[in-house]
């Protein structure tokens, strides 16, 4: 270490590396667009994208669409979460519940959600309800499976220890099984909320009259590549924020986890 100066990449901490990756990406973008290497009908300049944010804001759709999409994701996903957690816990802990639910869940899990979009349109129209349905269908079955894995993965000896300390079945469930499953459940929430965004954008591109997916699709019809990029950037940033929030919540909720919370 004394003779050679370590390359700069080794001297950066994690935050520095994150920043570096953004700078590199932005530089490549600038080079390709401002340098005229890629035509601006395919790749807009950062400046054009920036001004399209302003335009959309003046049209009153920037915040409106962002909120509309966020609202749909939150409601659809929350519905899936509150129903999938109890069912997943049951399947993970009871053979009977497993026999009852698992075949259906496995069947439904392999149906591509996109293929269900026409049905949801037929049943629910093109409003928010249909978006909730698409997100629910896309995340519910996966969540059931992930949660049941988390519950089934709780070491049996932990539950046995509780029962030789005098815990009844219900007490073991409440005082041991639920807290022990929590790190796995937090992980599954974090994974599925990302999927929820994907399904929402798909649903909004098929049929909607507001939302980020709708905005991107309309921009494509008018060849407004700058708006497409703006939409993608918003979705990406929302993803980043959500993920960061989840990390914070996980650290608060399960500071004891051996993994140190969710994957970092």
């Amino acid at each position: 270490m004394s003779k050679f100066k370590a390359p700069i990449i080794y001297q950066l901490n994690n935050r520095g590396l994150t920043l570096l990756s953004f700078v590199v990406l932005a530089s490549i973008w600038c080079l390709l667009s401002y340098g005229g290497i890629v035509k601006d009908i395919f790749l807009p300049t950062p400046g054009a994208v920036f001004s399209s944010f302003g335009e959309m804001h003046r049209e009153g759709i920037l915040i409106h669409y962002t909120l509309a999409s966020t609202y749909r994701v939150m409601v659809g996903w929350a519905l899936a979460v509150i129903t999938a957690i109890p069912i997943g816990m049951l399947i993970g802990t009871s053979r009977k519940a497993e026999a009852l639910f698992e075949p259906t869940v496995d069947f439904a899990r392999y149906l591509p959600v996109v293929a269900l979009v026409p049905l949801t349109l037929l049943y629910f129209g093109i409003g928010d309800l249909q978006k909730f349905a698409v997100i629910f269908l896309g995340t519910f079955f996966q969540l059931v499976l992930l949660v049941s894995d988390a519950a089934a993965g709780v070491p049996k000896d932990l539950l046995r220890a509780a029962s030789t300390l005098g815990a009844t079945k219900w007490q073991s469930y409440r005082m041991v099984l639920i807290p022990a499953s929590l790190p796995g459940i937090m992980d599954s929430l974090r994974i599925t909320i990302g999927w929820a965004w994907t399904y929402l954008v798909v649903a909004e591109m098929v049929a909607a009259n507001s939302g980020l997916g709708y905005m991107i699709l309309r921009a494509q019809r008018f060849l407004a590549v700058d708006r497409i990029f703006a939409g993608l950037i918003i979705i990406g940033l929302l993803g980043l924020v959500t993920d960061h929030l989840f990390k914070l919540i996980t650290e608060k909720a399960v500071p004891w986890s051996e993994k140190g919370g969710a994957r970092k």
């Binding site: 030789t164 300390l165 022990a180």
Partner: protein, 252 residues
């Protein structure tokens, strides 16, 4: 009358062709305050036997009684220490030890006091607020011992509790258990495949046959208490050890 009695107790896992007979015709009587150690070759059914006594498994045949009453399920009266680490990772050391007391409905003040006393007994004063992930294997098992003892079970069941520890830590743990038993004698059923451990700890060593396990022999260990590791070099210790080892060789 014995505190714990097993008569003709057997256990078969599964049915038909795939069934495994783990235990057959176990006859065992353990007295109040006896420190009973069971040794046997690996896979002979030691854990199965202990799980049946704990009420975590049901015997297929025969009877298993504590104070004359059939054992039907797990109970705070029979607390268990496992070979695997079973501390609740989301609870501090202190809260882990309080777990059983909380279930019994004991008031926070009283249970904190009790937990502290038992943590002192296992030499972990000062670690009350630590989380299990910060503890070494030996410390985790000490907390596990404090946790069952704080619950004041009529009988302590231990399934190779030091099996996963390194030799030096294991020695320390054996002495810790001996000294804890000097201070608070209870009935203990301890399982191990380590003959030294058996002879060092036991009032009686019970030797099991290979699977399907039966109780084959009983050795009364008259080495005076208090004991510590120095007794392991006595001639009495070595000759007992040799006798037990010869039987185990036959069985494995």
């Amino acid at each position: 009358m014995s505190k714990l009695t097993l008569q003709g107790a057997g256990k078969v896992f599964g049915e038909g062709e795939n069934s495994v007979e783990a235990l057959s015709d176990i006859e065992l009587g353990i007295d109040e305050n006896e420190l009973a150690v069971i040794v046997g070759p690996s896979g002979c059914g030691k854990s199965t036997l202990l799980n049946i006594v704990a009420g975590l498994e049901q015997a297929s045949t025969g009877s298993v009684k504590m104070n004359g009453a059939e054992i039907t399920g797990p109970d705070a009266g029979r607390g268990m220490v496992f070979q695997s680490y079973t501390l609740f990772p989301w609870l501090t050391v202190q809260k882990n030890v309080e777990f059983g007391l909380k279930i019994k409905g004991i008031k926070p003040g009283a249970r904190q006091e009790t937990a502290r006393r038992y943590l002192e007994l296992v030499g972990l004063t000062g670690f009350e607020d630590a989380l299990p992930k910060a503890l070494s294997g030996g410390m985790k098992q000490r907390v596990a011992i404090a946790r069952v003892m704080a619950n004041k079970p009529e009988m302590l069941l231990m399934d190779e509790p030091f099996g996963a520890l390194d030799a030096q830590t294991r020695t320390q743990m054996q002495e810790l258990l001996l000294s804890a038993m000097e201070k608070e004698r209870t009935t203990v059923l301890f399982i191990t495949h380590d003959i030294d451990e058996a002879v060092l700890l036991a009032d009686n060593v019970y030797v099991m046959s290979r699977r399907p396990g039966r109780i084959r022999d009983k050795f009364k260990i008259d080495i005076p208490r208090p004991r510590d590791h120095r007794v392991t070099v006595s001639s009495e210790f070595t000759s007992l050890k040799k006798e037990i080892m010869e039987i185990l060789w036959e069985e494995s």
